[in-house]
């Protein structure tokens, strides 16, 4: 049997992943995305939905400017695997979006009971989707902060729903908490890692 080139669950690899994402940049980008999502929910303006993904596009340029000159660059997977992973993420994102659009379009033709159930539980569904996305990010990046954000988002959104608050409020709080942690992480990172002499 051929042994895989590297084992993804190796503790050293997990530690390197943790070091590489200890700059808080990913938290900042995800936090801004969540804040934009809350703004869309608060204003109920569909026009801004397209803007939600913009902070994620800025991740790589920010990482290149801030983090890489300080701690260097590490490639965890071969370029073709990274590219394939990126494409599958994109397909998943577009697929999920298309699924919701399709659901909205065929709403009248699906079982009224299911539509009613989804209408009654949309906040619960949304809270699990948000927490699930943060949880998945935490698992992939071996970042325990994201697992905490996932639990926080679930608790806050469900809590606000049962108390009767508007849902954009707990979503905004989750975004602000992420920003708070991220800025503290980034300032510690900048303090501990001066720009290295390159080679």
């Amino acid at each position: 049997m051929n042994e895989p080139k590297f084992n993804k669950s190796k503790p050293l690899r997990q530690k390197l992943l943790m070091i590489y994402h200890d700059d808080g940049i990913l938290d900042i980008v995800v936090g801004v995305t969540i804040l934009m999502l809350s703004a869309v929910m608060a204003t109920e303006s569909v026009v801004f939905i397209g803007l939600i993904g913009i902070p994620l596009i800025l991740y790589i340029p920010i990482k290149e400017q801030v983090s890489i000159p300080r701690i260097g660059f590490i490639r965890f997977e071969a370029e073709d695997i990274s590219r394939r992973r990126m494409v599958s993420f994109l397909v998943m994102g577009i697929g999920s979006f298309a699924f919701f659009v399709l659901l909205a379009l065929i709403r009248t033709s699906i079982s009224p009971g299911l539509v009613e159930w989804m209408g009654n539980n949309e906040v619960v569904i949304f809270s699990f989707l948000l927490a699930g996305a943060l949880f998945a990010a935490g698992r992939i990046l071996n970042n325990s902060r994201f697992l905490t954000y996932a639990i926080l988002s679930l608790v806050l959104v469900l809590g606000a729903y049962f108390v009767g608050l508007r849902i954009w409020l707990p979503v905004a709080i989750v975004g602000l908490v992420l920003e708070g942690f991220a800025i503290s992480k980034l300032s510690t990172f900048l303090k501990n890692n001066p720009v290295a002499e390159g080679k």
């Binding site: 190796k10 050293l12 390197l16 701690i71 260097g72 965890f76 080679k199």
Partner: protein, 106 residues
């Protein structure tokens, strides 16, 4: 009858000195679990001085345990390292050998 101690001693004689050195073991281990890393990353994580780090990297390069890629990105020289098949095999053999030697202490 053959002295059993000699068997253990013969195992220690097989230790690959290039891999056995702690700094080189650390560099090779880091490269074993990723695709590639640049000079700055390996240097900062190893905690070695620049000169010391370069010496160990040169030794690994000399033994063909690592592959070195030098390129220019935005007019800046960047050196990237990845583990070669020979390096991968050497590290695996080292791990097996050390396991066998340490098993004698159990």
């Amino acid at each position: 009858m053959k002295n059993p101690i000699f068997e253990v001693l013969s195992l220690t004689a097989d230790i690959d000195k290039t891999v056995h050195e702690p700094a080189r073991l650390l560099i090779l281990s880091m490269l074993y679990v990723v695709d590639s890393a640049d000079f700055v990353f390996l240097h900062t994580q190893s905690g070695l001085t620049r000169g010391n780090f370069s010496t160990h990297i040169s030794k690994l390069e000399e033994e063909k345990y690592i592959i070195v890629l030098k390129e220019f990105v935005d007019k800046k020289p960047i050196t990237t390292y990845s583990i070669s098949e020979a390096g991968r095999t050497a590290l695996k053999s080292y791990r097996e050998l050390m396991k066998n030697i340490l098993a004698e202490l159990e």
